[in-house]
């Protein structure tokens, strides 16, 4: 019970900080809308229909936009040494990790919803016949992405290369999320039945679980001084 309260306090702290600065959500939101605009100019509609490749574009936008925000997870606290104080508090490191992941997950879910709205507007996209299955695919995919991203964001923030290193470390590990997330989204947007994406949802859940468990276990070796 204490554990949940600690995680809750950390999530609350991160969300309040984000609410006051609005730094990361604003950056990610602006980024995703602008990427939507760029994509609509980059795609030649006489060659390929944007609707056909929308699911891939959506996932790439979420991942690139997400990297922007995830890379700065520890930035604010790192700058004025506040993270040292968080580390000094008697909170287990895995609770700290889970708190960060949940806060990031909430932020990225907001951004992902924005991506879907923007792409629906720009590319005249419906959400298919199974919005619940689509939500499950997107939320599980984002959770796995955020869990991996948060762990390695803590790592890259402590290197001399900083955020440049983050995509190099994270992208290779994200391939299952991209494959299963994008194919499932594509099937659902085309209106295929949920049974088609059953396996994808299970794989995305497995990825999220592995990422969360390994991140929670290994986080203390990353933040240790």
């Amino acid at each position: 019970m204490d554990y949940l309260r600690q995680v809750g306090a950390l999530v609350w702290k991160d969300l309040v900080v984000e609410l006051r600065t609005r730094e990361r959500v604003a950056a990610m939101g602006a980024f995703t809308v602008l990427v939507g605009i760029l994509f609509s100019f980059a795609i030649d509609p006489s060659v390929v229909q944007p609707q056909d490749i929308a699911s891939g574009l959506i996932w790439m936008t979420v991942i690139f936009g997400g990297m922007l925000g995830l890379g700065r997870t520890f930035h604010l606290e790192e700058d004025d040494g506040a993270f040292q104080c968080v580390l000094l508090s008697p909170i287990p490191r895995d609770a700290l990790f889970l708190g960060k992941v949940i806060a990031n997950f909430i932020l990225l879910t907001v951004v992902t919803a924005l991506v879907f709205v923007v792409f629906a507007l720009f590319f005249d996209l419906g959400f298919g016949d199974h919005p619940l299955a689509l939500a499950a695919v997107v939320l599980l995919g984002v959770l796995g992405f955020v869990a991996v991203g948060t762990l390695f964001s803590a790592m890259s923030a402590r290197t001399t290369m900083g955020e440049t290193l983050l995509p190099i470390l994270v992208f290779p590990l994200l391939i299952p999320v991209v494959i299963y997330g994008a194919t499932a989204t594509s099937s659902l947007l085309q209106g295929l039945p949920v049974s088609e994406v059953d396996g994808n949802i299970r794989m995305l859940a497995a990825f999220a679980l592995v990422a969360l468990a390994s991140g929670a276990g290994l986080f203390r070796f990353v933040v240790e001084e």
Partner: protein, 238 residues
């Protein structure tokens, strides 16, 4: 101890080179040509052993990394680093020989098939492994980061391996580790196992020599740190 390891490494190196020569004789003169793929199939005897060694090396990286995080023993980190360097070499061999075969057999250099993707991904994980080690001010931190990356990478690989079965695959079915027993004829299997033995010997030769070098470097840093006025070994002394 370190001398004995080095001698063992040299012996394995000679054995590996000898086996590579035998392998080439087998590949070019001895083994039968495969019926449907023709001569190009012979690259298989280089490609598959290299892939086995590449993945085995990654297993060593992950296990030694986990051991390092647990025991904080620098020797485990040095072993992980040595295995990673050998592993990257053999992953590169897999990625070079695969397209050569694919161009003839599939008609394209590259195919986004999951086993290929997995190997390419492995290569980039190795790349990240070396980058993250080099980019910390405190070397201890770099070693821990690298170990974490190795473990997460190793956990990710089974997920992708399962996905190989999920997706329709262009890649030839496994001919040795097949659930119904090996499907290849004996001369092909013998050639394949010569390749596996040769590359395994070479890998452990590189591994031991590299490990010995890393031990010597470590000893040197410790000696310099102990000398008055010498540079301070930044957290290297364990």
């Amino acid at each position: 101890m370190s001398n004995r390891l080095r001698s063992l490494g040299v012996v394995l190196g000679f054995l590996g080179v000898l086996l590579v020569l035998v392998l080439h004789w087998q590949v070019f003169y001895w083994v039968a040509t495969e019926r449907s793929m023709g001569v190009v199939q012979r690259i298989f005897y280089i490609h598959v052993p290299a892939a086995w060694v590449a993945f085995m090396a990654f297993g060593i990286v992950a296990l030694c990394g986990a051991g390092y995080l647990w025991l904080k023993d620098d020797r485990l980190d040095q072993a992980a680093l040595s295995a990673a360097e050998g592993g990257m070499l053999f992953t590169t061999i897999v990625l070079l020989t695969g397209p050569l075969w694919g161009k003839v057999a599939w008609g394209v250099w590259w195919e986004w098939e999951l086993r290929l993707t997995l190997t390419l991904l492995l290569w980039f994980i190795y790349l990240g492994y070396f980058l993250v080690r080099k980019s910390t001010e405190n070397p201890q931190k770099g070693k821990r980061f690298a170990a974490v990356l190795g473990i997460v990478g190793a956990l990710d690989i089974p997920l992708i391996h399962i996905s190989v079965k999920w997706f329709r695959s262009l890649h030839p079915e496994p001919v040795v580790m097949n659930p119904d027993g090996p499907t290849a004829p004996p001369d092909m299997l013998i050639t394949l196992f010569t390749g596996v033995a040769a590359f395994t010997c070479l890998f452990f030769c590189f591994f031991l020599l590299r490990y010995g070098l890393e031990r010597m470097r470590h000893a040197l840093v410790l000696r310099e740190a102990g000398r008055p006025g010498g540079p301070v070994a930044n957290g290297v002394a364990s």
